[in-house]
């Protein structure tokens, strides 16, 4: 129950810089008359209509000379730049560098947040020792510590990975603890009645019960990881998508800048898609995620 509320909050938080939420996706639409007439596919096509029109208007304004290329280059120009950078420039290399940073930070943050979350979720003693400190650190917007991180770690790879990991740790931690605590005590009691060992209790009841909440944390963490990476790469990077953008700023190459923004957006959408795929696969049993059978 509160799981749902939580994911609602998370979606609102993610919404600003990431993919459309599940509600606006293709599935859960009421069987209205329009729905029946168009079908799910028709509605999905319809939802792409407005963005397409916007891009066409944008292109037209740029072609007609109403938009200065210095302000906003035409979409066709951005696409041409993308091809050029991909074939002759360092675009692919920068993309890989950025993805590796995000992946490393995400892995570390997940391990730390998940590990602490499991400890605190299971043990009241661990909660007493750890939880207050984590909650206090969490109260600080993690980007506010950036100057300190730069003093500590400079502007190299470590700083970037650290920042991503920091952003990832808290959503994973909080949702892991919450998930474990939310497991229905009646099911734990059932486990005892059926004679499960502690290990079996964890494997068969506690972890599956906590999984929806943990995956919500993963989804949220993906968005934070991405935000952290953008900020970290904007400061003193020598490679990566953020570096590309900063470099382009020096030369007023708005086409490259727009391209990097689009790339960030695409990767955000992809990450969210992966998270949603995981939810559908791992939570097939869950009425809110799985496909109905």
């Amino acid at each position: 129950m509160s799981n749902l509320e939580l994911s609602g909050i998370d979606r609102a938080a993610i919404g600003a810089n990431s993919a459309p939420s599940a509600q606006s996706g293709n599935s859960a639409l009421a069987p209205t008359a329009a729905n029946r007439k168009l079908g799910a596919r028709g509605l999905q096509l319809l939802s792409w209509l407005a963005p397409m029109v916007l891009v066409i208007i944008w292109e037209w304004l740029a072609q007609a000379g109403w938009l200065s290329p210095q302000v906003l280059p035409a979409p066709s120009k951005v696409i041409r730049t993308a091809f050029k950078l991909a074939t002759t420039g360092t675009l692919l290399n920068d993309l890989v560098v950025s993805l590796l940073r995000a992946a490393a930070g995400f892995a570390i943050g997940t391990a730390v947040g998940g590990g602490l979350g499991i400890l605190v979720g299971f043990s009241r003693i661990a909660e007493g020792l750890i939880d207050r400190s984590v909650q206090m650190i969490r109260a600080v917007p993690f980007l506010a510590v950036l100057p300190l991180v730069i003093v500590w770690l400079g502007v190299g790879e470590t700083q970037k990975i650290f920042l991503v990991a920091l952003g990832v740790t808290f959503p994973i931690y909080i949702n892991t603890v919450l998930g474990i605590r939310q497991v229905d005590p009646k099911l734990l009691e059932l486990g005892r009645v059926q004679g499960l060992s502690s290990l079996q209790q964890i494997r068969r009841i506690i972890l599956p019960g906590a999984l929806p909440s943990i995956l919500t944390g993963v989804r949220y963490a993906l968005a934070t990881a991405w935000l952290a990476l953008v900020v970290a790469e904007t400061i003193g990077a020598q490679s990566g998508i953020g570096f590309l953008a900063m470099d382009a700023r020096e030369f007023l190459r708005t086409d490259v800048i727009v391209l990097t923004i689009v790339i960030y957006a695409l990767i955000g959408v992809t990450a969210d898609g992966i998270a949603r795929f995981l939810e559908r696969r791992l939570l097939a049993w869950h009425p809110n995620y799985g496909a109905a059978r």
Binding site: V193, Q194, G290
Partner: protein, 242 residues
Amino acid sequence: MNAHVAPLSAALFETGPAVVVSNLVRRYGSRVVIEKLNLRIERGEFVALLGESGCGKTTLLRALAGLDPIQGGRIVAPRRPAVVFQEHRLLPWDSLWRNVSLGLQVPDARERAAEALTEVGLGDRLDDWPRNLSGGQAQRVALARALVQQPELLLLDEPFAALDALTRIRMHELVRELVANHQPGVLLVTHDVDEAIALADRILVMRNGAIAFEHRAARNGSTPISRSELLGELGVDSHSTH
């Protein structure tokens, strides 16, 4: 009744009761709920436990299940009892056969679960999710999960209370059949006097923390206990209600 043929291993231990409770005391803080309660249930015997709300029926059942500590007396049972609760308590993330085999430590768990599910009429739903079941079907799975453990004592805490009248009657037939096949001792907690009369070999009424009334079901033509007599034991003046 006695023509039942048990497997050899079970036959060796076929003697002795399913559970013996002597001088059981159970308190919550200073409130005594069960006071010097004695009870003995034989294997294959179906016992129904009645009593007004809050008299301690669930408390007794939980103590028998080993879910709560007891403050006095003894409970002797050969093996861990199986329990069916009022809610089905199926794990929503496990398929039906995984639910039924929960805690079963055998290599052929799936086959055993399949047999049990077939027994309750759901043999074709092995890989289905619990959320696709009706209330009565879910409770049948819970029964299968209890019986697959081959319990010597089966504890049922108002397992049919949430079902509609028709489903409940079907469930009565099913339970009677299953108990006849598996021959566990059964303690059925219920509010339904008719349910108790229909199913039980012996009807107990709990009052003031102990068994206050006991009735052995009529066999071979002797007159069965009347509904109004039982309702009287439960403190209900049946003439004014019916």
